[in-house]
């Protein structure tokens, strides 16, 4: 059996006075793509933020690579080997593509530059616009830069939040190809609304609704589970 790399156990998260997450469970196994599914506002983004320590859990536990990271500072969590691609991409608009990569690169050693070269092969656009300000990139290019930034450090796990959001189909295809490529060397947790994409590259799914995990299993099973798809995803 494959090792569990990330385990999220009954997390509850409050933002201000709102009780946003009210019992999210899920696991990501090494080498797999785990997909978080659920309607808009279900709590997928908040789940990723809670894992990153940006909106820390008030209850429950996040265990990564055998370590409890629930109460750790965000930068410690990142340094522990989790790369994060937020929903809004978090590109530093005033910094060039090169500078965005530089801020991201933690150890500027040979291995990191090798990974950078590799990721630039995946996204040749980034090389073309190397000296361009992040704020002037297209939506697709921003997405690519955000993924490249997360990948350049030797992360064991990547959290990617809705990478296809707002992109043209042809760009989505490129992004999905890149994720498939990245999967060869890292474990991935993916939030994806586009069920076609999710089912194509996901190995396992967790369904979140109203801040709670309501379903989980193998993607192959969900594809044929019309009832769950209709009830929680409004498709099928």
């Amino acid at each position: 059996m494959m090792k569990t790399l990330l385990k999220v156990e009954d997390i509850h998260t409050h933002i201000g006075q709102y009780h946003i997450l009210q019992g999210v469970f899920f696991e990501a196994r090494e080498g797999e793509v785990s997909v978080l599914l659920g309607r808009n506002g279900a709590g997928k983004t908040t789940t990723l933020k809670t894992i990153m320590g940006l909106t820390p859990a008030s209850k429950g536990a996040v265990v990564f690579n055998g370590q409890d990271i629930t109460k750790k500072a965000t930068y410690t969590i990142a340094n522990g080997g989790i790369g994060y691609v937020p929903e809004d991409q978090g590109i530093f608009a005033d910094l060039t593509v090169e500078e965005n990569m530089k801020v991201a690169m933690r150890k500027e050693d040979e291995a990191a530059y090798k990974r950078q070269d590799y990721v630039l092969q995946l996204f040749p656009d980034l090389k073309t616009f190397w000296k361009k300000d992040g704020g002037h990139l297209s939506g697709g290019q921003k997405q690519m830069l955000a993924m490249a930034r997360a990948f350049v450090n030797d992360s064991k796990l990547l959290l990617i939040d809705e990478p296809s959001k707002g992109l043209a189909p042809i760009i989505i295809e490129k992004v999905m190809e890149a994720i498939t490529e990245m999967k060869k060397s890292t474990t991935i947790v993916l939030v994806e609304q586009n069920f076609m994409m999710a089912s194509r590259i996901g190995d396992r799914y967790t369904l979140i609704d109203d801040g709670e995990t309501v379903h989980a299993g193998e993607m192959a099973d969900l594809i044929h589970n019309e009832e769950v798809k209709r009830k929680y995803l409004g498709i099928g």
């Binding site: 500072a73 965000t74 930068y75 990142a78 978090g90 530093f92 608009a93 965005n100 930034r149 450090n153």
Partner: protein, 286 residues
């Protein structure tokens, strides 16, 4: 003509001193969203400690270094003790930093006594150069050069070094910087210490310029610095240079041509900017 040059040099020199004070303030605000009303206290401490080191050693250079070190140490203490507990809460920041400003001012009197202290320009910077009819006061030129040098060094660091990139990235998106594995709190601390050092440098350069120093000198000057930060755009380093020169020159010309307006002119500049460009002339992102 010589009058105009004199007023300009005078305005530039004052502008540079304001810039040194405002640049720290704007970085601290831009990166940390901290309203630091104690900044003027660090300015006054820079002036006193600098003059003290200067008098003790007989060397103005040692006075400057002493002031900068004092600024760095006080900056460290201020950030750890005063600022850290109130991150994210502007009302508390205003109250506690205003309170701390008073404490810093009173402590100056405890250490150096309640009276004004005299500060002399070092002999090698005293006097002036004559170019035909134009008289350039050496010390003013010195301040202008130091101001541009500091601007150049900091601008280089912000644009070209990794820590500079991190600071700029932090001004744009703190959460993302942390999610990339950077301890933003430590970066905050460094920026705060650098800003405090600049305030102290401003203070020690101000001392011989005005000839006397007094404990309350920080209040007056800090207000000018705040005006400059608002005009230049909160968080913008080049913006604070531009706005400081503007305020310096406006003050200098007005004091001569329309003395009655010389104090109001800064407020008027600020009001005009706030009406037509509330984000300031420059933005942190541009």
């Amino acid at each position: 003509m010589e009058l105009l040059i004199n007023l300009t040099v005078n305005g530039l020199a004052t502008g540079m001193l304001i810039f040194l004070l405002a640049s720290g303030l704007t970085l601290i605000f831009g990166l940390m969203s901290v309203l630091n009303f104690a900044h003027g206290g660090l300015f006054a401490w820079g002036a006193y400690s600098g003059v003290w080191f200067y008098t003790l050693s007989g060397s103005f250079v040692i006075g400057i270094i002493g002031a900068i070190i004092t600024g760095i140490i006080l900056g460290f203490i201020t950030e750890k003790l005063i600022i850290t507990p109130v991150y994210g809460n502007h009302v508390q920041q205003i109250l506690i930093t205003l309170g701390f400003m008073l404490v810093l001012t009173e402590l100056l009197k405890v250490v150096w006594g309640p009276n004004q202290m005299a500060a002399k320009v070092p002999s090698y910077l005293a006097g002036s150069w004559e170019f035909g009819d134009v008289l350039i006061i050496k010390y003013r030129l010195f301040i202008i050069i130091v101001g541009f040098l500091v601007f150049g060094v900091f601008q280089y660091m912000l644009q070209k070094t990794k820590i500079g990139l991190i600071v700029r990235a932090g001004v744009m998106d703190k959460d993302m910087v942390q999610a990339l594995g950077i301890n933003i709190k430590r970066v905050f601390l460094y920026v705060f210490m650098a800003g405090s050092a600049l305030a102290a440098l401003s203070g020690v350069l101000m001392a011989p310029y005005s000839g006397v120093i007094y404990a309350e000198m920080g209040f007056e000057f800090a207000i000018l610095a705040f005006i400059v930060v608002v005009i230049g755009g909160m968080g913008s380093f080049p913006g604070s240079l531009f706005a400081a020169i503007l305020v310096g020159l406006a003050g200098s010309y007005m004091a001569y041509y329309v003395p009655a307006l010389s104090l109001a002119v800064n407020m008027m500049l600020m009001a005009i900017v706030l009406i037509f460009r509330p984000q300031g002339l420059f933005t942190a992102k541009g």
